[in-house]
Symmetry: C2
Subunit: 328 residues, 2 copies
Amino acid sequence: MSIDEVARKAGVSTATVSRVMNGSPSVKASTRARVEAVISQEGYSANRLARNLRTAESRLLLTMVPDFSNPFYAEIVKGIDSVARKNGYHLLLCDTGASLTAERTYFDMLRTRLADGAICLDPDSTQRAMASETGKLQWVACCEFDPKGPVPYVGINNAKAAQDAVRYLVERGRRNIAFINSDERFLYARQRKDGYMAALAQAGLTPFDGAIVKTEGLTFDDGRRVAARLLANPTRPDAIFAVSDTLAIGAMQALHEAGLRVPEDVAVIGFDNVPLAAMVQPALTTIAQPMFRLGENAALLLLERMRDPGMPPVGTLLDHELIIRGSA
Amino acid sequence: MSIDEVARKAGVSTATVSRVMNGSPSVKASTRARVEAVISQEGYSANRLARNLRTAESRLLLTMVPDFSNPFYAEIVKGIDSVARKNGYHLLLCDTGASLTAERTYFDMLRTRLADGAICLDPDSTQRAMASETGKLQWVACCEFDPKGPVPYVGINNAKAAQDAVRYLVERGRRNIAFINSDERFLYARQRKDGYMAALAQAGLTPFDGAIVKTEGLTFDDGRRVAARLLANPTRPDAIFAVSDTLAIGAMQALHEAGLRVPEDVAVIGFDNVPLAAMVQPALTTIAQPMFRLGENAALLLLERMRDPGMPPVGTLLDHELIIRGSA
């Protein structure tokens, strides 16, 4: 029921309905009672909206992630959630599919104060497109970010982390090191590729023909399919570095199906250290990102920003760690 | 900035600000211009809120899930999302942690029309507590539901599915069949336990001492820990039926660590058929739930309900399937 209908049913003006909803003292008690009766009768509760209009506070924080099916995001969201709850906020999660249109829609919620602030995990390219439109909106970037932009962020040093992983493979005598990358719209994909190239160059190596393959998605099956393609290549890799654990686990499945042993024939290193990485056989060697802490830090940064919108944009990089298990 | 501040800055009453925001024609053009100037100057955009008050439509659907870290929910959410987008809606996801307090907070969003409808995957016990409070709110239940309640739902026949899984183990000669259950606040946990007991009874068996173990969570690690406890039991199980794939995969890890072979020493069956189930070694035998279709159906049911709030509550049970792989 609209505000106009409430007004009509109560026999008052819409302005009076607004005044009742806003708790204005200038409404006669009998008029207030009549309006409230209509509102409660019709099941139309405008208290929350009215409160938003008054205090401009929803106690809701948006979190925008590009893809729910990657378990990587679940841990980050848990970190954000823990800080939010401690501070009296609730989370709203949006799966944007990394789409600018979806991101615009959700930013509109911020703009109209349906949420108080946002944490964005969408590709840096999408973020950059939004940064110019968002003006004074309170949001921070997590994992993906623009190091020179106006938005505070928290992330890791992706290039350095990838370099650590590939250097480890080189030190163990691997020479034909393949690289499974994902969508290069993402900063992390470009930076990890840089790290892969840097580690090879440092060892006087170059990628063999067809060593670098790409997927659009980050599912297990994406990893399996692209690794199968890699194995059809004239040069067989003796190691695979994948840009996410889900892709690495899918790749291990393809190796298993091709009758190849991990790590004897092909060593595999993933990225993220999702809980599952320790559960597969052989357990996955991977770069650990501090997912929970990334989420916590992003939420703390956002709350700080909301308290002090004028604070200069800061960027924090958390430490990564190479976790050595059975796969490499 | 609050409505009071806008009014003060523009030198008008809050009722006039409301009228401007509601697009009322009874405001002088010069007054309207003054109010709008203040609003745009201060970055306070009330258009969306005003539109909500007018049309009572946000084009947002809430989806409430109890735990993001279970990959089971990701597939359902994708199903919901696909139907929502085709119909011009966006999703808001909330991790309620299965808590009634959190659920109340999110239902408040519905009540105040910040969302147009909701799909709830929280435990049936939580849903039941809410059903009496929600009145005319538009929501449907997915996976968890009250078969005799007023809320439309879509789910599967959990008891029958569990019975199929355990019967398969019995038919392959297993006699000491353990059961890893999760929190019995969930309908599915109680129903799957019923199915386990029914299959044993049908075969003239009873659970061995200590055969039934419970976890609070559904993580891989919960499965690992509880399976380790199971293996310390005087009677060693020759099969394990776990109430989710995540628990089953964790249990396989515990068996591996104890030097037991799957399926030779202990057969394992999971539940859900998450994408990962096909990727572990050995691949997991499991009950497939049509997750994507559960999500699609829930969203369609909700949209139908929103169009016709008076429709009688319907319940739909979709088919499950036993997927036979290497683990049993």
